[in-house]
């Protein structure tokens, strides 16, 4: 389970995203590479601004100018998709890649009944009749756990609670049975008891339909209990990637280790939390060498001159002096 499958469903290689600004181009993603296997949940964590959402946006082809892909390749089931014409990408989106965002209202049309939105989406992607589409819409609502789906199908988004709306969005993302879902902070806006309902639902979808999920979240608990593998991002790069259990319990990169140690425990009260001093650099001030070096307790002169690479391995860290077992630069 740890090693990526022979043919990954999604393969991202050396992805570089640049924003063309007034003061010249700013590199927001720099050499991001990872795979997702069919039916796998890859968690993406990191501080805000690290590049998690940009990575997801690039995969679904929704990157807007001034942002552009300046290098690298994205393959879905062996097909290169980062250079597809807009129309082909639009078809692919929804059909083969679904999306779930933090705020369910951004994905729902406020003036259309949820059933009609589902039916339209199904008709766009699948060769079925309207009646068949409606039947499928109803099944989807039941599948994502909407109670009394027969009546709820004719309700408007504002008649649903936040958690129920997010279920509807998940149903929308599932309409065409995509093989990959990009879920960007899908539970962040929800209550703790509802968050658990949604992550349980996502896990079930992976198990039962073999859907792969890229799950962007800042909640390490969610990662530890939901993701198969996890990628930790810092300043536009993946600094550590590997099985969720290995990365969260035996982190190799000093940044991951610091991040894990800064989370308070529910099991005991401690005097002091570990803290990583300072802040993640802005895009226009990324330090040379390892971007983490000004905050790293293990940094040496070498780190300030040489950018560590991320090896392709089961558990890998982009660090010259990693802490534990992982393969390193």
């Amino acid at each position: 389970m740890n090693a990526p499958a022979a043919q990954p469903l999604l393969s991202v290689r050396d992805l570089r995203i640049v924003f063309d600004g007034r003061h010249g181009p700013l590199t927001a993603l720099d050499g991001v590479s990872f795979d997702i296997a069919p039916g796998e949940i890859l968690g993406m964590v990191g501080e805000s601004g690290a590049g998690k959402s940009l990575t997801g946006t690039a995969v679904i082809g929704l990157l807007d100018p001034p942002g552009r892909i300046a290098g690298g390749e994205i393959h879905l089931a062996g097909q290169r998709i980062d250079n597809l014409p807009a129309e082909a990408m639009r078809k692919l989106r929804g059909r083969r890649i679904g999306a779930i965002f933090q705020d369910p209202l951004t994905s729902l049309h406020p003036l259309l009944k949820v059933g009609d939105q589902l039916v339209e989406t199904i008709l766009t992607h699948l060769p079925v009749s309207r009646a068949e589409a409606r039947k499928r819409a109803l099944d989807l609502l039941k599948e994502v756990g909407i109670p009394a789906a027969e009546t709820r199908i004719d309700h408007f988004p504002h008649q649903f609670s936040g958690g129920m709306r997010q279920r509807v969005v998940i149903a929308l993302a599932l309409c065409a049975e995509p093989s990959l879902i990009i879920a960007d902070e899908p539970t962040t806006a929800l209550d703790v008891s509802i968050q658990a309902q949604i992550t349980t639902l996502l896990k079930r979808l992976c198990r039962e339909h073999g859907t792969a999920i890229m799950l962007v979240t800042h909640d390490m608990g969610v990662i530890a209990e939901t993701a198969d593998r996890v990628a930790v991002m810092y300043a536009g790069r993946i600094v550590e990637i590997g099985p969720a259990e290995g990365v969260t319990r035996r982190p190799s990169h000093p940044y991951t280790a610091g991040l894990m140690a800064s989370i308070p425990s529910v099991h005991a009260r401690h005097e002091h939390l570990n803290q990583i001093d300072g802040a993640m650099p802005r895009l226009n001030a990324i330090p040379p060498g390892c971007a983490f070096n000004p905050r790293c307790g293990k940094a040496e002169a070498f780190c300030r001159e040489h950018k560590p690479g991320l090896p392709l391995a089961g558990h890998a860290a982009a660090c010259h002096f990693p802490l534990k077992e992982a393969v390193h630069a």
Binding site: E47, S48, S161, G162, G163, M164, D191, V192, S193, I194, A196, Q197, T199, T200, K203, H218, D219, M220, G221, V222, I223, A224, E225, T226, E245, T248, G258, L259, M260, S262, I263, P264, S265, V266, H267, A268, R269, H270, E271, H272, L273, N274, Q275, I276, D277, A279
Partner: protein, 334 residues
């Protein structure tokens, strides 16, 4: 008066004396349709019970936390404590204390908000944001002393004196939260009401802010009313803890006890639901159902539709809070 001063002097140890006393506070909002349209549709008045019959005492120099899901009434309670919201019923009273500057009177209360972006005036320099309460309350005699104090406060919260000349937009979320804490301290506050102070921050930044808050509490004897929905943050911060559900406390007591021996089914479910990095459970079963509307809460125990132990009695009779081994619990079967 003399007596009081003597008592205060003898009870300087943190945690011995009560600083805030909330007695059966209620906050209800009238959310009815306008009277005229109600007349036509024969709708009754609709009352939203945001906070119902909440009592608590906060001990000086300690942290009292309130935990609960969205809409359960945490912020409404906080707003009543800082005086931004009048209680519909009940009473909130601050006791007189000997303040840090030696004067005696009720504690100075300040609020720290979740969104450090919204709570700072973007057109003011940070130095002026922090200096405003000092000038307003005439806490320093001349401008040089004000500037000195602003510089000191910036250093206390881990920023640099030169940051005074910059505008809020130049700071990150965590730094802005440091600025709002500095502004609260500028009023010589003794009591900080913190409404989700770290919810908008990344975990690494959250750790910096929580460490700062703990250090300031020790250094200045601050008292915190701390609101959060994050149980591990609450575990880290609290001396006392109340779990709120639909406007009421369902369990309240020493935090250590509530965490290690939760007695109310809702508290137990909350603790069982949250994903745990330290002891991950990939088969964790979520709590079913949703929080009902506070406009038409379920009869009897308001938690009964989601409670696995619910019996017939729970659907008709509301459990009162009662003492159970040093903790207050409202459940018929706890």
């Amino acid at each position: 008066m003399l007596d009081q001063a003597a008592t205060l002097a003898s009870a300087r140890v943190a945690g011995d004396d009560i600083i805030l006393d909330v007695a059966a506070a209620c906050c209800r909002f009238d959310v009815s349709a306008p009277a005229l349209s109600r007349l036509f549709s024969h709708e009754p008045r609709r009352i939203l019970r945001a906070v119902e019959n909440v009592s608590l005492t906060v001990r000086r120099g300690t942290t009292f936390s309130i935990v609960g899901e969205s809409g359960c009434g945490k912020s409404t309670l906080a707003r009543m404590v800082v005086g931004l919201q009048r209680p519909t019923e009940g009473k909130l009273s601050f006791r007189d204390i000997r303040r840090a500057d030696g004067t005696i009177g009720p504690p100075r209360v300040q609020m720290i908000f979740q969104d450090p972006y919204a709570s700072l005036n973007p057109r003011w320099r940070v130095g002026d944001i922090i200096a405003e309460p000092i000038r307003e309350l005439k806490l320093r005699s001349d401008e040089a002393a004000v500037q000195q104090r602003v510089g000191d406060l910036l250093e206390v919260v881990g920023l640099s004196r030169t940051d005074a000349s910059r505008y809020p937009h130049a700071f990150s979320g965590g730094q802005r939260q440091r600025i709002s804490i500095a502004r609260a301290l500028a009023t010589e506050a003794d009591f900080l009401v913190c409404d989700e102070p770290t919810s908008a921050l990344d975990v690494s930044v959250q750790a910096q802010i929580l460490n700062l808050m703990v250090r300031l509490q020790k250094e200045f004897g601050l008292t915190y009313l701390f609101i959060s929905h994050n149980l591990s943050v609450v575990r880290h911060m609290s001396d006392d803890l109340a779990i709120m559900y639909l406007g009421r406390f369902v369990e309240a007591g020493p935090a250590e006890q509530v965490f290690t021996r939760p007695q109310h089914p809702y508290t137990r479910l909350l603790l069982d639901t949250i994903p745990d990095v330290e002891q991950p459970n990939r088969e964790r079963r979520p709590m079913s159902g949703e929080v009902p509307s506070p406009i038409s809460p379920p009869a009897g125990c308001t938690f009964n539709p989601r409670c696995a132990q619910a019996a017939d009695r729970c659907r008709v009779e509301r459990p009162e809070l009662r003492q159970l081994g040093g903790v207050e619990v409202s459940c018929h079967f706890a």
